[in-house]
Symmetry: C2
Subunit: 218 residues, 2 copies
């Protein structure tokens, strides 16, 4: 199933692009925060926020007072972009130096999530960020649910862009005595820092050590 | 010097916000890739790309054929957002679970960089990504410069948003036997992977091991 449209067709380096749902879903599943674009007063804004995916649906959430969410809730066009940075590509020239990354751009309009789907969506977002956590925490109260705005965006129109592998240098530059290759990068967890009010006999849960998430499957 | 305007005033949780240039510059200097927002045909797009900062100026670059850069070069409103994800905040409830992060949003319009500033801008972008690299690589040829579009955005209107520290749980939730605290996250380098065509006697440069960049100063 292709999510390609005239708007998500890749104009630059289309060989690095993909429009199939499986590729797009795999990138979305490895990330947990996105950058959402919307327009207000003629000005585009790009705001980072968490997200969750289930099937063809992406969920985002925030305060009922969030300007971004309230703007999006009116059904204006939005863009949701997820980028995973995989490494620095050290070519022998500036021109061919690059970054290895995988990104997904989803276009569409959001709708407000209500009723039972609202609590389920919050679980999906939580599990996207840290799988396993939801079972351990206190779930939202009715008051908290009321204070939270949840939106969903269907993945109908999207593209992925991927760069992998070593530098692609000009043939003559391979003769240069300049180190070249890739420095892999990964969002990596440090040692968990317990809250100062946590009783000493509560162990760090396994899921808090489960990063890195690379290659994780749903 | 404040970069606060009605458009960069923080409407949600203003206590987490800042508008002073020093705070904004420090966040920008720790990152090296941003998400750029622009509007084409009424649709907002959010695209990841590298950037560099010098003083009050941000530079981005790409192919002369880049749709994004060509749109921005016409002087349409843009948004450039940089987000550093510092950790997962594991609160005792879903409602107070969060992410520690530092982000900067810069609004404005871009102008095309030409002449001597163009080569200098490419060095600034390269040094932002990997300080020290520029001295080792082959610099751009006239033909490469011609094939590259460089834009600059002045940092005149901007905001920072920062969340740090442990979870802020509801008082009664502190009694729960649920692990709570922070899992720090950092973009961390793996072992450099030499290009297959690199002679064996070329050592890995020091700067390729210098990540993590946290706390780096210009």
């Amino acid at each position: 199933m292709s999510l390609k449209t005239p708007r998500t067709r890749l104009q630059r380096l289309p060989k690095r692009g993909a429009h199939d749902f499986a590729t797009i879903a795999a990138i979305l599943d490895e990330g947990f925060f996105c950058h959402v674009g919307f327009v207000a007063g003629g000005q585009p804004y790009v705001i980072p926020t968490g997200y969750g995916r289930k099937g063809r649906t992406l969920y985002i959430h925030g305060s009922f007072a969030s300007r971004m969410l309230n703007e999006l809730a009116t059904g204006i066009p939005m863009c949701l972009t997820v980028t995973l940075v995989d490494g620095l590509v050290l070519a022998r020239s500036g021109f061919h130096s690059s970054v290895n990354y995988r990104s997904v751009v989803v276009l569409g309009t959001a709708t407000v999530v209500e009723g039972e789907e609202k609590g389920a969506a919050l679980e999906i977002i939580s599990e996207q960020i840290l799988p396993g956590r939801w079972a351990d925490i206190r779930w939202p109260t009715r008051k908290e649910l009321k204070a939270t705005l949840v939106l969903k965006l269907r993945i109908n129109e999207a593209s992925a862009k991927i760069r992998t592998g070593p530098p692609n240098d000009d043939e003559k530059d391979y003769a240069l005595k300049c180190w070249a290759g890739v420095v892999p990068l990964q969002l990596t967890p440090g040692k968990p820092v317990a809250d100062s009010r946590l009783p000493r006999d509560v162990p760090v849960p396994e899921y808090a050590r489960k990063f890195p998430r690379q290659g994780r499957k749903k």
